[in-house]
């Protein structure tokens, strides 16, 4: 099935969407890949250790308010992306997905904090699948290699964190009819991954 989605996902949508469905996303995506994930993961773990709280006692709002994470993870959708630089007059350069499995180490923690979706490409680990299922999140695939085409769906892009990481900075992007295939749905149902 095809669905036009305005992010963030509603609870009804997360339950109805199934592996293999095609979604056209509208709304906010945050770009984050290897280096940004490591920074957030290390910062969250350091905070957990410092406060002596159990990970399950920490909220995404608390992390955001204390500047531990640059975004409030709850309800957010990440896009595993490192774009080419925008030319003058362009919103963003070439902007296709990077391989998701490199972020597998960091993902269950983010999902447990309320991350509601990820856009990338390729397989995920069993730990990630389990975390998607227990948190009712959605993992989506964008077409690998279609960077020029996908860039057309990104209507605005602003670096909001980790500017020193260059292409790996966290960008807040507004997308319009950004096409993805659901690869793992909220029940952990996998489609070709």
């Amino acid at each position: 099935m095809d669905y036009k989605i305005t992010l963030p996902f509603t609870e009804e949508e997360t339950l109805k969407i199934k592996g293999g469905d095609v979604l056209y996303l509208n709304g906010t995506l945050y770009s984050a890949r290897d280096a940004a994930h490591k920074r957030m993961y290390d910062a969250i773990n350091e905070y957990t250790e410092k406060t002596g709280k159990k990970p399950s006692e920490i909220t995404s709002a608390e992390l955001f308010e204390n500047g531990i994470t640059p975004i409030d993870l709850k309800g957010a959708v990440l896009y595993y992306l490192g774009p080419t630089p925008a030319k003058p007059g362009q919103v963003i350069g070439s902007a296709g997905p990077t391989t998701s499995s490199r972020m597998d180490k960091y993902t269950p923690l983010l999902l447990d904090l309320g991350l509601s979706g990820m856009v990338g490409k390729g397989r995920r680990s069993d730990d990630v699948k389990a975390a998607i299922k227990r948190n009712k999140a959605i993992y989506m695939g964008a077409t690998g290699g279609a960077g020029a085409l996908l860039s057309k769906c990104i209507k605005s892009s602003t670096v909001i964190a980790y500017d020193d990481l260059g292409t790996e900075a966290i960008r807040k992007m507004e997308v319009e009819n950004f096409p993805v295939t659901v690869l793992i749905d909220s029940e952990g149902g996998a489609f070709r991954v």
């Binding site: 490192g82 630089p85 030319k87 990077t98 391989t99 077409t143 290699g145 020029a148 085409l149 070709r192």
Partner: protein
């Protein structure tokens, strides 16, 4: 003796960086378009349609085909009668990469150390392989390599007894393990022989050859410098190449991993003599954006 100035090298490399990332070589483009017309799987066909449209947008609007504009891999065939003037040869190449990746709005994807991982900011250093050949020529091939596919590459130190079947199993294993992660349809560079690192270099070199070609060390050796009974009869290579192409495309991984008969667009093979105890086999995976540009100065 012929003098070549470093400025000319820098200029050539700069242009190659940009061209390679905006336009695919004809054989790659044709293979993608043919697959687009012939794929029978609905989803696979849809993905190929997107990739074709992507190529057109990239060329028309000067947007890189893929956002992973790669680490610059450079093969140089340097004539032994050439003298380089004007500065360091390696620096000339790196400066070309620096300028190409900056002025071409290409991505800076290189970190200074595998553990420290600070972005070098200009996509240098390049990886440079130099081969000294006869004559006064300077031939440079730039093959920007993206790491989605590079990460799926493998070296297998097979046993001589493993033979052709062992080679086939290893290549198929590499492709199956890669699955959707290498952005299929893939191009598979296969290096057979040499030693551990030579086999990998052969596999990378293979990717820069014409699509679906096979090449071996003795192809370039003058007949009269080598005894006839040493020259291998490598008719088996054409069959191996064809068999691999068929067997990989029977895996039904398909475009984008969505299923279909085009899991790969081509298999390129490079072969080199090897040790009596070894059969090194390297598989350099590449996606369908197999970028390589060659210039002869």
């Amino acid at each position: 003796m012929r003098i070549i100035k470093t400025a000319e090298i820098t200029q050539a490399v700069k242009k190659m960086c940009i061209d390679a990332n905006l336009y695919l070589a004809d054989d790659m483009k044709n293979a993608l378009y043919t697959a687009c017309d012939s794929e029978e799987n609905t989803l696979g066909r849809k993905i190929l349609g997107q990739l074709k449209e992507n190529l057109e947008i990239a060329g028309n609007e000067s947007i890189p085909i893929c956002q992973d504009t790669g680490m610059a891999v450079v093969f140089v065939r340097l004539g032994q009668d050439v003298h380089i003037e004007g500065g360091s040869f390696n620096e000339a190449i790196n400066e070309g990469v620096r300028q190409g990746y900056t002025e071409g709005y290409l991505r800076k994807s290189v970190v200074n150390d595998p553990v420290i991982r600070k972005n070098t900011g200009d996509n240098t250093p390049a990886i440079i392989h130099v081969e000294i050949v006869d004559g006064e020529g300077l031939e440079i091939t730039l093959a920007p390599k993206g790491f989605g596919s590079e990460n799926m590459s493998r070296v297998f130190m097979l046993k001589p007894a493993d033979g052709i079947d062992g080679i086939k199993n290893a290549v198929l294993t590499a492709v199956k393990d890669a699955g959707p992660n290498a952005c299929p349809p893939v191009v598979v560079g296969v290096g057979i022989g040499g030693d551990f690192e030579k086999s990998a270099l052969l596999a990378k070199k293979a990717l820069t050859n014409n699509l679906n070609s096979v090449h071996s060390y003795f192809d370039d050796v003058q007949g009269d410098t080598v005894s006839k009974d040493v020259l291998p009869d490598n008719a088996y290579l054409a069959k191996l190449q064809k068999d691999l192409y068929t067997e990989i495309n029977n895996l039904d991984i398909g475009p984008g991993g969505m299923g279909g008969k085009f899991t790969c667009l081509g298999i390129n093979i490079e072969v080199y003599p090897t040790h009596i105890a070894g059969l090194p086999l390297a598989v350099n995976m590449c996606c369908h954006v197999n970028r390589h540009v060659k210039v002869t100065l």
